[in-house]
């Protein structure tokens, strides 16, 4: 024992400097000297801290907004520069500093290392480009949108959280190890929580924020466990080492080896995290509620960036997922079903932001479907296009909301395109809806087709049926997006401002009401920042189609990026996809020569037609014979005709209620029971133990009655008893 006690510290002492030295020495071959890339996450962080300081100082100007825009813009420029410099240069690893490091010492070789370092490959570039780019635009938009809160300090708070979000998102996407990814993962969750609850005096906002965080945490649990299992199995949390090990396993699989169940479990666990963050069934319930936050937040976080983190995670670990085909099938089915379910709900909502929220869930479902059917390119491209057009849609909604005092009910708004100063908003909405609907030659059209087509190609459990489901969903998407457009922007001019003002200051609200009242309400048209951003986004949404035609070999620019990243190195143990390199998507598949045998060709026409049908239906139902904002005769007739279904759709299939009954209430009851148990039984036992001596004392007390005689009897009796016992014992 002694020898152990003495040797261990000694060896550790010798080990410690070695570990410290190793941290500075160059480690992996992909090491980058481009330390300036660290500015990408750093600038938003600095901006966040600055905005926090502004808040503490009580700055009421637009300084926080401009600081953020500047920081994010520079961050975007750095990203762009970085992409242009290193875009094709493989993996860059930029070392920051040591975060966690604990080792076993001696020669056991194992250590837990997780550093603040960046792992940058083409997938990262793709994500970071649109994250920083869109963040800059939306921050600019917010400088105007949030201006009402300048006085009460909410402005600086908003931008502080906003910047912090971008920082966390950068960590998520750029982290070189699972733990840093997890930091970003939870960090974006925190920012989402803070921003959803931005209007913290609104109970609904607070509840929504809480719900978002907790539901996300359920997913995070899966991610955390997956991370732990990955550490146990691969011995490291760092991507470079994990992928090296995965490559080894792929090699054994290619040689006919088996994959251990532990390895197979890792993607299943990671998947849970992705479902939580990307709002997939059954964890999607938080996202629609998250619309309680300011609209730019919905645009950035809950549409364009954060919710695609799940897609990123699976895309990043696609080689790992490929080792377990079951996990891919689950991803595909969950994605497909989520898309369908969310679309049905989206068709029947009246709150236009909610419609957009469900459409986000639905589109995320597409992305998962894409990942499940092994077209990481399709998924990533859809992420890319969706980021643009969904941001456009949300920001248009935001402009409406901003102009109409928080009104979002499509029954109370109508014919906005005819109002002065709303032209750009209308255009933006139209473009966004066209993209979302998959109108031919818009960006959404191409990206969605990639996924749809791949669903028909890939062999998997019921993937053909899934493809048909997805096509139906596409039709629904076209319908509900144009339902919003036709009702809000076309038809007779009519608007009612909302009672539910989105400011967080009651006084201000009252002042508002007094000054303008409901009758004399004048919508204020968007200002320059909002219009500028919308214009840029219109261009962006349309231009997002261009990358599809660039680099055609790799199925577009995005395909090239995906191909160069970790998602591009797959070995499929069992999926008979016809090619080793599935990331090539459709091209690598042995497609037939004829027109109908290549879904990538006929899908253009099929989905285009379906889009037209959806839009036409929307026109028919919501445009024809409409005279006022609140009703559309055909829609109401249809709704009555399909009463049970439409009610269920409108009430979101009662999923929230179902969760309440299945989880929340039982847990609450259980908690009350626990508390009761704690007080009565656990503490009761303790108190009982405490009372025992007292009870014993009470029972013995009569012996001390003060009477000499009874004392004497007691003593004599005691002596007698003892003597008797001793006699027995002898």
């Amino acid at each position: 024992m002694i020898s152990v006690m003495q040797t261990i510290p000694a060896t550790l002492a010798s080990h410690a400097p070695a570990a410290a030295g190793a941290a500075h020495a160059p480690t992996a071959p992909g090491d980058s000297s481009a330390i300036w890339l660290i500015l990408i996450p750093l600038l938003p962080l600095v901006s966040s801290i600055l905005c926090g300081i502004y808040r503490a100082w009580g700055v009421t100007s637009k300084l926080p907004g401009y600081t953020t825009v500047l920081a994010l813009a520079v961050s975007f420029i750095v990203t762009l520069t970085g992409y242009l410099s290193f875009g094709g240069a493989g993996v860059q690893i930029v070392h920051g500093f040591q975060w966690l490091n604990i080792s076993w010492g001696e020669a056991h070789g194992q250590s837990l290392t997780a550093n603040f370092s960046l792992y940058i490959d083409s997938l990262t570039w793709l994500w970071m480009l649109f994250v920083t780019g869109l963040a800059t635009l939306i921050a600019l938009y917010s400088t105007e949108y949030m201006s009402e809160d300048q006085k009460n300090g909410g402005y600086a708070r908003y931008f502080s959280f906003f910047s912090l979000f971008v920082f966390a998102m950068s960590c998520l996407v750029m982290g070189d190890n699972l733990l840093l990814l997890y930091l970003g993962w939870e960090g974006v969750g925190l920012c989402s929580y803070l921003l959803i609850g931005y209007y913290y005096t609104k109970p609904a906002a607070v509840a929504a924020a809480k719900k978002a965080f907790i539901v996300n945490r359920i997913g995070d649990l899966g991610l955390a466990l997956g991370m732990m299992l990955a550490f146990v199995e691969f011995g490291s949390l760092e991507f470079s080492e994990i992928f090296a090990r995965v490559a080894e396993i792929q090699a054994t699989v290619a040689a006919g080896g088996h994959v251990s169940w532990q390895i197979e479990a890792i993607p299943l666990l990671l998947m849970v995290g992705a479902f939580g963050k990307s709002a997939q069934l059954p964890l999607y319930v938080w996202l629609p509620d998250a619309m309680e936050g300011p609209t730019p937040v919905s645009a950035l976080i809950h549409a364009a960036t954060m919710v695609t983190a799940g897609v990123y995670l699976i895309a990043r670990f696609l080689p790992l997922f490929a080792l377990n085909p079951t996990s891919l099938a689950i991803v595909a089915w969950v994605g497909g079903l989520t898309a369908l379910l969310a679309a049905t709900i989206g068709m029947s909502q009246f709150d236009i932001k909610r419609v957009m929220a469900y459409s986000t869930v639905s589109q995320l479902g597409y992305m998962f479907l894409g990942l499940g059917v092994l077209t990481a390119t399709g998924a990533a491209y859809h992420v890319f296009t969706h980021a643009f057009f969904k941001a456009t849609l949300f920001l248009s909604c935001g402009a409406v909301m901003h102009g109409f005092a928080g009104q979002l009910d499509l029954r109370k708004l109508s014919g906005l395109r005819k109002l002065k100063g709303w032209g750009i908003v209308t255009l933006a909405m139209l473009v966004g809806c066209l993209c979302l609907a998959g109108f031919p030659f818009t960006s959404g059209f191409f990206s969605k087709d990639m996924i749809l087509a791949e669903a028909f190609v890939t062999q998997g459990p019921g993937y053909q049926a899934l493809g048909i489901l997805a096509l139906i969903t596409a039709g629904m998407t076209a319908y509900y997006s144009f339902r919003v457009f036709f009702r809000v922007f076309c038809g007779p001019v009519e608007f009612h401002p909302s009672d539910d003002h989105h400011g967080d200051s009651e006084e201000e609200h009252e002042a508002h009401e007094d000054a303008e009242g409901h009758h004399g309400f004048h919508p204020h048209a968007p200002g320059w920042a909002i219009n500028l951003v919308l214009m840029v986004l219109i261009v962006g949404s349309l231009a997002a189609a261009i990358p599809y035609f660039v680099d055609k070999e790799n199925h577009g620019w995005v395909g090239g990026l995906v191909h160069d990243s970790t998602a591009g190195h797959l070995v499929l143990p069992t999926v008979a996809h016809g090619a080793e390199d599935a990331a090539h998507g459709a091209e690598a598949v042995a497609h037939g020569e004829g027109f109908w045998s290549d879904p990538h060709k006929w899908m253009y026409y099929v989905s285009g037609t379906i889009g037209f049908i959806g839009i036409g239906l929307a026109w028919l139902i919501h445009m024809t014979r409409r005279t006022e904002a609140a009703t559309a005769p055909i829609a109401d007739g249809l709704k009555n005709a399909m009463r049970p279904v439409s009610t269920w759709c409108e009430r979101k299939w009662y999923v929230d209620e179902f969760y309440d009954i299945i989880f929340r209430y039982p847990l609450k009851i259980l908690s009350h029971l626990f508390y009761l148990l704690d007080q009565l039984l656990v503490d009761g036992l303790v108190n009982f133990a405490g009372a025992v001596p007292r009870m014993l004392g009470r029972s013995l007390r009569p012996s001390q009655n003060g009477l000499l005689q009874s004392y004497a009897v007691g003593m004599g009796g005691g002596v007698a008893v003892i003597l008797f016992i001793v006699w027995i014992l002898l």
């Binding site: 001596p693 007292r694 014993l696 004392g697 009470r698 013995l700 007390r701 012996s703 001390q704 003060g706 000499l708 004392y711 004497a712 007691g714 003593m715 004599g716 009796g717 005691g718 002596v719 008893v721 003892i722 003597l723 016992i725 001793v726 006699w727 014992l729 002898l730």
Partner: protein, 529 residues
């Protein structure tokens, strides 16, 4: 016999002081009467000093002299300021106001003389080496205390207490005397060493065993152990606080010393490992110890009268010390020595218990007749910190020490008992003791809370401070003691261990017998070494 006198220097000093005090007490001049307390003190100092120079005895506890007698003298000295003036301050006041002197009504001399005689009895118990001597010494310890209780206050309660104490004491004396007689009957000798040798060679037999058990139970009256504990609360409550403090120490010390002597005749050189008591005796003591501590604590829990509470706590502490007795000198050279631990605990208990009683003795209130009486209840102590911070701190320290709160003296005493109990394998008993300490914490904390944390109601009378300065000195001494003696805890424990080493002759004899008779045992001993 005469050579034994050479071992009795401290006792002789005390005896001389007793004689002087008795005479002085009758002096007409109040100055000389007042000198009696100083002479008592002087006698105790002399005894203290002399106890270091007494030669070794060849009794059962040959090394006992310096530690045990010095401890008795020292604690006697600490109690003395508390005692000062207890008995006849009313009378002295009357004289002070010009009343005529009546030698028949002045009891000061007697009181101190009894005090000294009782302490002398305790010391004699230490040196005793045969049954007769033991009996006489025990009675010398007890008899004066009966009277002290009765005369300690002019109230009827004290006399009731005295009577109860006397009759029950007589009952116990009868018990142990009967036990002594049976021992003599079984062995034919009154010499403890001879009894030990006889038991070892001839076996104990039924009569011997029963005799020893009876003797032990009888003596356990002195230490207030079950089943002879009934008198304790009544007597402590009835007596004046200083006398209660004295009762909690002197007879207890005598009782423990005698029990050690009696148990040495059968144990600690015997048994498989050469230390254990006969099984019947061990079980008896085990049960008595467990019952005593539990009984004392659970009843103390219910008390609202502080004196009665301390009386029950005194029962409980006897139970703790019995653990040490049960363990015996233990295997190891020092630390496993249960006797040493018990004797060290006795010292600790003497110091800390004194303080608790002294604080009670320092405070007075008017009873229903308008007389100033000592306070008794916990209620009376409430909010003491605001009025008398010094006394409140003294009470707090002593109560926490009695509780066994480290780093106060009581903890170190308890630690010794813990270690010795565990080294003897009496883990069950040690756990019972631990749990009992926890129970005890409750009522000691009530004392602490009352004095330190509670605030006094507006309409409550402020407790008057007694005019007897000595009592405050005693409280202070005790409070300082529980803090400061800790520094010498190590030395004192070592001295105590040394003092309680059983006569090597008995040990050697037993070992010889073992070697000669029980070959299987030898192996185990050899292995043990």
């Amino acid at each position: 016999m005469i050579e034994k006198l050479a071992q009795l220097h401290p006792e002789i000093a005390l005896f001389a002081a007793t004689c002087i005090v008795m005479v002085l007490g009758l002096a007409k001049s109040s100055f000389w009467r007042g000198m009696s307390v100083w002479v008592t003190g002087l006698g105790l100092v002399a005894a203290l000093v002399l106890s270091f120079f007494s030669p070794q005895t060849d009794g059962m506890l040959p090394n006992s002299l310096p530690y045990l007698k010095a401890m008795i003298a020292a604690i006697g000295l600490m109690i003395l300021p508390l005692m000062g003036g207890t008995v006849d301050r009313w009378y002295e006041r009357t004289v002070g106001r010009g009343a005529s002197f009546d030698p028949l009504r002045v009891t000061r001399g007697e009181f101190y003389a009894f005090y000294l005689l009782s302490l002398m009895g305790v010391m004699l118990c230490v040196t005793a080496d045969d049954l007769i001597w033991l009996f006489l010494a025990l009675e010398l310890t007890s008899l004066p205390t009966y009277i002290m209780v009765a005369m300690s206050t002019p109230r009827l309660r004290s006399q009731e207490a005295g009577v109860k104490y006397f009759f029950l004491g007589a009952l116990s004396a009868a018990t142990f005397l009967y036990g002594f007689a049976m021992l003599y009957g079984a062995t034919g000798t009154t010499q403890l060493q001879d009894i030990a040798i006889h038991f070892r060679t001839e076996g104990m037999g039924l009569i011997g065993t029963l005799g020893l058990v009876m003797a032990l139970i009888g003596v356990s009256f002195k230490i207030a152990a079950a089943p002879m504990h009934f008198y304790t609360p009544d007597v402590y409550q009835g007596a004046a606080s200083p006398v209660s403090a004295f009762l909690a120490f002197a007879p207890k010390a005598a009782g423990f010393v005698v029990m050690i002597q009696l148990l040495s005749t059968v144990g600690w050189g015997w048994g498989e490992h050469g230390i254990a008591l006969p099984e019947a005796l061990r079980i008896t003591l085990w049960v008595i110890a467990a019952i005593t501590m539990t009984f004392g604590n659970v009843l103390a829990l219910l008390q609202s009268n502080a004196k009665r509470m301390l009386a029950y706590s005194s029962i409980a502490h006897s139970g703790y010390m019995l653990v040490g007795l049960l363990v015996g000198p233990g295997q190891g050279p020092i630390a496993g020595n249960g006797l040493g631990a018990a004797m060290f605990y006795l010292l600790c208990y003497g110091v800390m218990n004194l303080g608790a009683f002294a604080v009670l003795a320092c405070l007075e209130k008017r009873d229903e007749h308008g007389e100033l009486v000592e306070i008794e209840t916990v209620e009376d102590l409430r909010g003491l910190h605001a009025a008398r911070p010094g006394l409140a701190w003294a009470m707090t320290l002593c109560a926490l020490s009695l509780l066994g709160m480290p780093p106060l003296l009581g903890f170190w005493g308890k630690l010794g008992l813990f270690t010795s109990g565990i080294s003897a394998g009496e883990i069950g008993l040690v756990v019972i003791m631990g749990l009992n300490s926890a129970v005890a914490a409750f009522y000691y904390l009530r004392l602490v809370r009352a004095v330190m944390l509670d605030t006094r109601d507006e309409d409550m009378d402020r407790p008057a401070l007694t005019d007897m300065f000595g009592r405050r000195v005693a409280a202070g001494l005790s409070a300082v003691g529980v803090l400061v003696v800790v520094i010498w805890a190590g030395q004192l424990q070592a001295a105590s261990d040394h003092a309680t080493e059983v006569n090597p002759r008995i040990r050697q004899f037993n070992e010889r017998v073992v070697e000669a008779e029980e070959t299987p045992v030898i192996e185990s001993i050899a292995r043990n070494d």
